[in-house]
Amino acid sequence: MAIAFTGGAWHRAAAGLALAGLSCWTAPAQADGTWSLRLPKEDAVAYRGVVSFDAAGTPGGAFQYPVGGAGAGGFIVAVLTHGLLVESQKNREKQAMQDAADKVLSPYRAVLDGLRHPELMRKALDKTRSGTERKLLAASESAGTGWLVESQPVFGMTQDQRALVLDNSVTIQRVGDATGTPYQATVRVVSQPRAEEDVQAFWKTGEGAALKAESISLLAHSLELAVRDAGAAAASEPPTFKTVRYQEGTAEKMERAQLVAHHCGREVIRTLRGWLMSVPAPAASDAAPEPCETALPGWK
């Protein structure tokens, strides 16, 4: 039986996964308890359409270089010119595919253009629970003590408009420790697929209230996961990877990953790149679900 999440339930589950799955940490979540989230330099929040580049590029074929009597030098120039032209064409093709995918955002442009990092990150920070004190810093402000968290979120919307996908590039380092290696990772969070008949109306109602709330929840969850992961002890055994299936909107997706946690219809996995992903689990995998309120105590 799958558990459907709506509103706060999804967010409780999301944060609870962090609590349940990444319980072995020392800092910054517990050690001195203080962490500061620094705002990105740009105010605008990045949204894009989720795109696949599986069809990008051309299958290839022989190419005759018109070198004439220019000799080896002419041949090298011809090859280099050809390389530049092909590279430029490849980039143009990918950009065109991304531009086409971005059209899915057109109905939401007014809402998204009004969303700014200070508001988004303030509300996301309010939803996090790690540490004893959390502060929001301006882009140019320096952190006092504890841990400094820098976040660069990029949101995606699936082409069926039924899910949001956040890629949050996070850097975490102890304030004043210039020699330590900062924690760096991208945390991807895929929202539960929306089942509303008119999903566009759902996202847009109330000046995009649901779209904003979902974006804030995804960001909060990604920050929780990153902060806890930064202080987690390294695994003592070599990781076991398997192909994990999950829902991204109505599409089934796959990722080669380690399973970190599985609760309430969601899974936290670690990818081959070492990044974390939090994804909706396939419905069939929740054969005997633990009630979410039991699995995720104390989350409000």
């Binding site: 290839g60 190419f63 090859v79 050809h82 490849k90 192909t243 990818t271």
Partner: protein, 231 residues
Amino acid sequence: MRSNLLLALTAAAVVLLSGCASKPQMPVELTPTALSSGSQRVGVAMTALPKVEINLPGADCLLCIIAASAMNSDLSKHADTLGLEDLPTLKERVAAVLRKKGATVVVLPEPLDTKALPDATGEGDNIASKSFAPLKEKYGIDKLVVIEIYSIGFERGYASYIPTSDPKAFLRGRGYMVNLASNKYEWYLPMSVTKSADGKWDEPTKFPGLTNAYYQAIEIGKDHLLKPLGK
């Protein structure tokens, strides 16, 4: 001497023209009754699995091949370390799906060498080019489901020296069911899966993005072949 040359040219022309004349097999959808007709026994076989390889189509001249191979040598080394996941047991998965539909299934234990089978004598739509009839008595089966994986690995298009695409994972093959009484395809499904890396691909030495795409391609390919049989 001259007549020998003419003979050779004529023979070559005949071979080429007859090659052009052979029709490609079109997909054949599995009918609802094909697997549930009474007491028929269905065999399930797989051909030998290929090694993981790197294809560089378009790098045609000798120097182009050398340059392209050198350019992709790290990926080639990494490809050598990749396994075939659970592809070797795909026929067991197919058998389980068929049993679920009520078929009596015999799994052929050894890899099927289709090239060793005699050529089929009959002609017509959806007739297999090889005769599978000898397997009818050998295994006591009425129909045979064959899973063929031709090639698996990474592919990158080239225009002579220049790559025209990023490397992508690929899996190619086909699945089919032959009625051993008529040697006719009752199911025929080609498979060609291509998956790109999510984000950047050039991450030596482990190539996590492309490795992920490789396992995605395997999973998608298995689904492609299993889903129509389970319907």
